[in-house]
Every structure is written in structure tokens, then in C-alpha cells.
Point group: C2
Chain length 343, copies 2
């Protein structure tokens, strides 16, 4: 069932919303029957004419009975209402979830995809697809998109598809940094995004651990300083949120670093910044790129992260960074909401 809904949401999303609208009307009639058109209108916050069209349709389908005393459900209407309920809840549950999340995390928009991207490959693809679609809908011509690294971002990159607008879009890595697994590196991901979307990209090859002098020299190189400027003036920032525990599990970081993370109770990481559950920055990767103080200048910020284990990290970062949009999955959403309110 979920499959069909998911497929339909891709192939005919607006029609699902129509289904939902009609379901809502049916449901309201059921609760208020017998009810007149005007009452329904105000109750459903629709204009009278639209409500009327819907009701006419429902009558045509034999789902509502329309008499002088008002409208009532037919037996069939009731049957449809009851049988459709679980599907609608599934379809709409995410809207509810996202509404609650918006409030809880104080962000403008939340997209939720079904499942758990941590354990379900399809869910991860869904997550990535949603992220990619969001980018597509927000990017205008001649804009710069800064992208961070991580496996989720990689999935997003692979989900991008070409659009004329992207031809004049430049993808830049949010931060430099060499040494991570190449396919999770921001540089690589920026290039993949550009390739899959038909856009351009710039690289930022700044090693992680270099001396201050070397760093200063590097940042004065035109190639590098150009990219740095582009990053700071990016119109869209797309990043993911890493889980501190997963980070700690990776071998190449020294024990010392791991201890530091644990000591400071880091729960997550985003484009080089490590933070604890309160959103306090506890560590910063030493490399060039987008700095925290540049964030407010970024036009749109899109966080893409899913999986129950990242719930804490997502909640933490959203409560501190000014967020525009969070793309997450059902598992993370429910986990976040089940945690105690931070206030």
C-alpha cells in the first residue's frame, strides 16, 4: 500500500491532494450531518463554490446524499470514509508530523519522507530525492549552491536531475578538507551534483591539518580565495547532519579527538562543526570554507538528515542555527517529537 501511495506521490502528487481534500469533505459531512453548504464552507475554510463543486462530485459518485435538510453520507460514502482512513492517515501523517516539527524546532518548513533512512535503502533514496527536488525548486539562474559532505549528501547528489536552470548554477563545497573517504567529501559531492544536474562546479582543495602559515598562503591563492568568496555568498546551502557516534566509529580520527568529542558530549556534526545537544559548538575542523558567522548571509539553508539515531543531532542543530528547511524521515521525526521538549 505504502508503495502505491509513494509511487502516486511521484507520478501524480496533486491528485493525492485532491483525494485528501475530498476525504476531508466526506469526513466533515459525516461529523456534522445533516449539514448545509454554508456551515460546511466555514467549517472547512473553503470558498463556497469550491465546496459546492466537490459536493456535486461526491453526490455524482453516490457518496453523499443531498436533500433539503442538508447533506448526509450514503452507506457507500461511509464505507469509503472508513476504509480510506488508514491510507489518508499514512499519506497525511507526515503533514501532521511536519507541522509539529516546525513548531518544536522553530523552522519554516519540514519535509518528511516515509520510513527510516538508516535501515531502509528506499527511504534513504526518498530522502535524497526530496532534498534534490527542494534544491531544484529553490535555485535560480546564476546562483551558487554550497554543499557539504557525508553519505546523505552523496545520495542527494546522485538524485539530482538536469534542469535548464542548473546550467547556470555553480556548485561549491561548503568546506575544503581532504582526507575523508573521497565519496563523502564535499568536493566530490559538489562535482557529482554538477555532473548529474548539468551545472558547473568549483573545487576547494585545502588540506585539513596544515600549519597556520601554509594556510594563510593558500588562502591568498586566487583559485582558492575565489572559491572562498563564492562560498560566502552562496544562495543556497545544502548540508547534512552527522551523528557523533558514527563519527567516533571512523578509524582515521585519532583517539585524542574521539575523547574530546566524548568529553564535550558532542552529538552531531555539520560542515565541519561539532556541537553538543544544546547546539553549542564544541569543535571546528581546521579547514577553509563556510564559517558560522557567514550563515545568516546564506539565502536558503537546507538540512537533509534522517534516521532515528540522528534525531538528537537534528534537534540540537535546528535549535541553534537559523533553519529554513529540514528534510528528514519519519523515524527521525517521530524520535525528535518523542523526546522531551528542550524548553
Amino acid at each position: 500500500m505504502r508503495t502505491l501511495l509513494t509511487l502516486q506521490s511521484q507520478l501524480c502528487p496533486d491528485l493525492l491532494s485532491i483525494m485528501h481534500k475530498r476525504y476531508t469533505v466526506l469526513r466533515r459531512i459525516y461529523y456534522l450531518q445533516p449539514v448545509g453548504r454554508r456551515s460546511l464552507t466555514s467549517s472547512l475554510q473553503m470558498t463556497e463554490r469550491i465546496l459546492r463543486s466537490e459536493v456535486d462530485f461526491l453526490r455524482e459518485q453516490g457518496l453523499v446524499n443531498i436533500a433539503q435538510a442538508g447533506m448526509t453520507l450514503t452507506e457507500q460514502g461511509l464505507e469509503v470514509l472508513q476504509k480510506l482512513q488508514p491510507f489518508i492517515e499514512e499519506y497525511l501523517g507526515y503533514s501532521q508530523l511536519s507541522g509539529e516539527l516546525k513548531e518544536r524546532l522553530n523552522i519554516q518548513e519540514v519535509w518528511i519522507v516515509p520510513g527510516d533512512s538508516e535501515h531502509d535503502e528506499w527511504a534513504k533514496k526518498e530522502l535524497a530525492r526530496a532534498g534534490a527536488q527542494l534544491i531544484k525548486s529553490w535555485v535560480r539562474e546564476d546562483q551558487v549552491v554550497a554543499v557539504a559532505g557525508g553519505s546523505t549528501m552523496q545520495a542527494v547528489a546522485e538524485s539530482m536531475s538536469p534542469t535548464p536552470t542548473f546550467k547556470r548554477t555553480t556548485f561549491v563545497p561548503a568546506r575544503g578538507g581532504v582526507g575523508d573517504a573521497v565519496e563523502h567529501e564535499a568536493n566530490y559531492i559538489a562535482s557529482r551534483m554538477a555532473k548529474n544536474s548539468g551545472g558547473r562546479y568549483r573545487m576547494l582543495h585545502v588540506p585539513d591539518q596544515i600549519s597556520e602559515e601554509a594556510y594563510q598562503l593558500l588562502t591568498q591563492e586566487t583559485q582558492i580565495s575565489d572559491v572562498l568568496h563564492m562560498i560566502q555568498e552562496a544562495s543556497v546551502l545544502v548540508y547534512s547532519i552527522g551523528d557523533a557516534k558514527t563519527m567516533a566509529g571512523r578509524r582515521k580520527y585519532g583517539r585524542e579527538f574521539m575523547q574530546l568529542l566524548e568529553e564535550k558530549q558532542a552529538v552531531g556534526e555539520s560542515f565541519g562543526y561539532y556541537f553538543d545537544r544544546n547546539g553549542t559548538i564544541v569543535h571546528r575542523t581546521k579547514t577553509a570554507g563556510l564559517r558560522l558567522r557567514d550563515l545568516p548571509k546564506v539565502g536558503r539553508k537546507i538540512a537533509v538528515a534522517g534516521g532515528a539515531s540522528k534525531a538528537e543531532a537534528i534537534a540540537a542543530i535546528c535549535s541553534v542555527f537559523p533553519q529554513d528547511t529540514l528534510v528528514t524521515d519519519e523515524a527521525a521525526a517521530r524520535k525528535i517529537l518523542s523526546q522531551n521538549h528542550p524548553l
Copy 2:
């Protein structure tokens, strides 16, 4: 899954047809890729503009890739195509079936509902609902609808819902006849239809087994002859098809009659006429009402019958009576098509 599709077919039937249309486009692109708009247009028998709108939408959704060489499916597009296939087949299987049935039975229109109405209550309701909807769509004001008897017709009657048009519709029994179970009698069904749809009705109380003199006298009564005239000038005839074996199972008919049916190899019955597998009338109930020679005068003829056991009877009657529309179920449809071609 079937549930969702069924519900959607009631709540938003156009949703499904649009989904199907887009699926078809996806599928065709997949087969012909890379393909141009003009080739697709002719291949899909769509106008160019419509095809273009669909393709634009699919591109927007990231399902097709659109380049100078032509259109291709994206990875997502392929995924949707594959996952959607079983659903579409289920949804569309019936269209295919109905197409084949039209040809086989040489009738204008065939409606097929899912399942087996003989064993599945929901399927029987679906069948009845389809029949009722069909009546609704065909009846105009001040027309007469002649209805036959039987349990299927009863279900149709119960599925009728009121419409303004029906206020000026008169339902009459296709044939008289008293003695059958009252709830399966044409008289009763005509009255139920009228009641459920908000229309008027007339009764035809002519006993089955009476002497010729009594019959002649009765038919000269104004009340009865009036109704008889209405029947003969009915604009719509709705009837079902009974299975001879089931008929034979009913006790109240004499052994003699049963033997007759078996002797003449009767397979089915409709509004009082019994016929064999070739459609030859082998017996006629002795009562007043619609006669065979009046059939061509009837504007529209709707046969509603389902269940595998009625397949033979359906095929037989359709091959002889000039049919307009058959409403049947999947079980009967498949059974009919699996039988050898009568020619």
C-alpha cells in the same frame, strides 16, 4: 492494495486515469528511448500539446531526462515504471478484459468490476454500484426504466442514490409474475429502485399460472394495460442473467419444469426467457410484460451479471440479444474469454 485502488476509483476516478496516462507515457519512452516528441505523439496517439504537458511534468518530477537527442528515463523513472507495473496491470487489466469481451460478445460497452461477485460480497456490491451508476448516467427526464428481477437486480436497486433526474423517472417491472421470492421479484425491485433513487414506479401484478381467459381479461384492465404500454416503450432496460443450474435448485418449480430445462440444455434465464448455450429460447414464463420482439424498441439495454458460474449464460445471451452494455465482474469475464470461441 486493491482496496486503495478501489477506493480511489470511487473518490477520484480521474486520478487513476491520469496516473495511467502518465504511466503509458513513461513506458513508451522507456521502450523507444531516446525518442523525440513527434514520434511519441504518433506512437501514443496523443496530440502533441498534451504529450508535451505530460512530458514537462515528468521532467519536473525528475522521472524523465530531456535532452537534445530526445527523451530518456531517469533512474527514478525506471524505478517508478517497474514498481507501478503490477498496480497498473491490476487497474487496467479490466480495460483490456473489457476490450476483449466487447469483441468476443460483439457488444458496445463492457464494464468490469474486480473480484467474483458469487463469492465476494464486496465484489457484488461493486457490481451493483456500477450498474446503478450506469443507469444514472443514461436516464433522462421523463423516461421509463424497465427492470427485471433477481438477486443481482436487488443489489442494484439498493445501490441507487437520488438524483434530480430520477424524480421524473418511472420504474416498471419488465415482467409481471408473482410467486417468486418477493425480494427477487421485478415488482419489488422496481419499487425499491424508485424509493432509493427518488423516482416513481408502477406495479404489474399478473399471476404466473392463470388461464388464458383470465389473462386476456386482466390485460384489458386499464391499470395493467397502461403499465404494459409503458414497459414496451421503456427507454432503458436493466436486467440480470440467471444461471439455469441455480434456477433448477429452487424448490418451488416442479420436477417437470426442471426436466424440461435440462432436456433443452438451458443455461440461463433473463426476464422470463430461458435459453440454451446458443441463445435459443427454450422456454418462456407465462406472464405479461416485455416480449422479445419489443427488445429492439428499447433505447438502452443494460445487463448486469457476474460470477464465474454465469459465464456461459452471459455469453449465450449476448450472442443473441442485441446488447448495449454488459456490467460484469472479473471472474465471469475471464471465464467467458477462456471458453472456446463460439464461432
